[in-house]
Symmetry: C2
């Protein structure tokens, strides 16, 4: 049936998002020998503006090279289309004669596909293929892109903890994540034992309290002689205000067009550095903002993540025959399986990290958390305990 | 001859500094069957205080596990011993009956060894084994630890440039390096072509000018639609003041016990972010401070670097028979060789990056720079050019 596919990439890139594009192109080629697959440049904006490249004309060698390259080769966008925007998009899709539109992204992308699917009166299969380093899509066990980013974070904290063994002090690494703490919790995936860092993990799902934080740092310092902290950029107080809003004067905060405080900047790191200098004067303290480094880093591109992202693209093509849907990665108890789930069940919803991933009264992984990360991000390196 | 060695690690750790310790232990075991090798905890402070561990009692398996672990397993120190401190150190060494003291570190460490060697009336061979991610030791082609850190930086900029292809804007990555720009210049080691980032490289060796910087960013933006910048934390203006001192009010600057401005903090990143917001309002701009992430990162531990660090430790043991010296890594036109050079030629001196590594009138690698990095940090990944 489906002969013409359009595919696009939205939101923040990942290390493996191109695998999903290429998985879709090669599956389409396999199932439909005459299939035409067009890639839209810069996400849905490329569909609206008719900026399309004929991916199905590329050889498998060319496609495999793209698949192995991190970040969105077709370009991405932060556009959140309204209904008028969607109408223009639909016009292009109809003009091309598209049977299916596959849009790779997070929960906003699922929302866009829901609007498009209704507007097309279900004439065009609108498929959401999952992607996010935040790991925050509902109905998904985990999401393509997360494992690679988690490997970066796990390796960085393993390494920094060794550094702070050698030269003791307080270290805070700030990790992307506005609403979900999975990526920050991955900091402990390769922690060696109770003594190893990160000693404290702060995620958006648990209220942050300055005095508790300082007490916890002091306690770790007295037990271990050092304190390594993983903190989500989106940590918030009990009043729901993000920590960066609490610490930085309002006139200095940068906001996006939706009025959201920009979290990916250096503000939070600088503010945490000042907070430590004020509350723990004289202690050696260092704060790094990981920023963009974990997101599409080629050095930590994970092979399982790559295969799953490819399979998610292939599944999107197979599911297209049954109409609009969202591809979900689920865990059947032994392996990852790919299911089609209704778009409106995924759209706009955030899968928060379950509270049980952390210990109830401590900012550390629980036994359940350890098990979750052992399965998803198995230890890649064995290291020796330092003498100090 | 030499039967008792003491070994210590100083300054900032690297991914391969433990290789040098283990290289020394295994070489001593090979050359002197009864050799005793004692590791001092936290650098020369461990010698002063008599905190020593018997490394020669460990099995080769145990030692190899330590060698493969990043950061200083024996702990490190920032102590810069004066003559009184050195006298106490010497007393411990004599008390132990040490024939040789191997101290792994940068140019300060070579200085310490010079003082000790004189004070011992050359009774104890004081050997400096090289180590620094800054790559700034004179008489060395490159230094153990640099290649691994350079791999981190090269991979990060390759990846971030792809990210900013997908979502255009200005990106500044701030890289460790107070006086030498080698690690920052390594950002371009895996740059694909003229169009690829980093588009601008700022190192401590060249005077930084705010207006030139802004003009260069504008020019890159108009040519490429994005601008990726690599900046050393130690960049300074023509007046010799570091950029962070120029941008941050004096009362907010953190200084160390020697009065040096702390560069490894978030101050510079925050100040560069403000500078871009002021001079290029409305442009999407992101600044990441790489901080500790490149230094001992297990994900980018380079095998050549590991082998050379091991060989430097072995060379330190071999050279001990001839008395105090500094081990230097030199390039004979086809391979790295290990030479013994006088301590006082290395002590306290900084090997600045030659100006010819960058193009004369541009902030990009020159042909010579490309060649240097191709040899030291050969391209590890092939990636496809994005469609955007």
């Amino acid at each position: 049936m489906a002969e013409t596919f359009v595919i696009a990439q939205g939101g923040g890139p990942t290390a493996v998002i191109n695998q999903t594009v290429v998985g879709a192109v090669l599956e389409a080629r396999k199932l439909y020998p005459k299939a035409r697959v067009l890639g839209a440049l810069h996400g849905i904006r490329g569909v609206r503006d008719g900026n399309l490249v004929p991916l199905s004309e590329l050889s498998e060698t060319e496609l495999r090279a793209i698949a192995g390259t991190p970040s969105a080769a077709l370009g991405s966008t932060r556009d959140k289309p309204d209904e008028a925007y969607c109408a223009t998009v639909l016009k292009t899709l109809q003009h091309i004669g598209a049977d299916a539109f596959i849009y790779i992204g997070g929960n906003d992308t699922a929302g866009t596909q829901g609007i498009l699917s209704k507007a097309s009166a279900r004439q065009i299969a609108c498929i959401h293929a999952p992607k996010t380093i935040d790991n925050d899509l509902v109905l998904n066990d985990h999401t393509p892109g997360f494992i690679s980013a988690a490997e970066f974070v796990a390796g960085a904290f393993l390494s920094v903890d060794l550094d702070f063994h050698a030269l003791p002090g307080i270290y805070v690494g700030i990790v992307m994540g506005r609403h979900a703490g999975f990526l920050t919790a991955a900091s402990a995936a390769w922690s060696m034992d109770e003594e190893s860092g990160p000693h404290l993990i702060y995620v958006p799902e648990r209220a942050f309290d300055r005095q508790h934080f300082i007490d916890d740092v002091k306690s770790a310092m007295s037990r271990h002689g050092r304190c390594v902290v993983a903190m989500s950029e989106g940590v918030s107080g009990a009043d729901g205000r993000s920590l960066v809003e609490t610490l930085v004067p309002a006139e200095k905060l940068e906001r996006d067009q939706h009025g959201n405080v920009k979290l990916s900047g250096t503000d939070l790191g600088a503010a945490v550095e000042r907070m430590l200098a004020e509350d723990l004067p004289g202690k050696r303290a260092r704060v790094d903002t990981f920023g963009y480094l974990p997101r599409g880093n080629i050095a930590t591109l994970n092979e399982v993540d790559a295969r799953e992202a490819f399979a998610a693209g292939a599944a999107a093509v197979r599911f297209a025959e049954q109409g609009s849907t969202s591809v979900a990665l689920q865990f059947d108890g032994s392996k990852t399986i790919f299911r089609n789930v209704p778009l409106d069940q995924v759209a706009g919803k955030t899968q928060h990290m379950p509270d049980s991933i952390l210990d109830p009264d401590q900012n550390r992984l629980s036994a359940e958390g350890v098990k979750y990360f052992e399965r998803l991000v198995p230890r890649r390196y064995q290291v020796a305990k330092p003498f100090v």
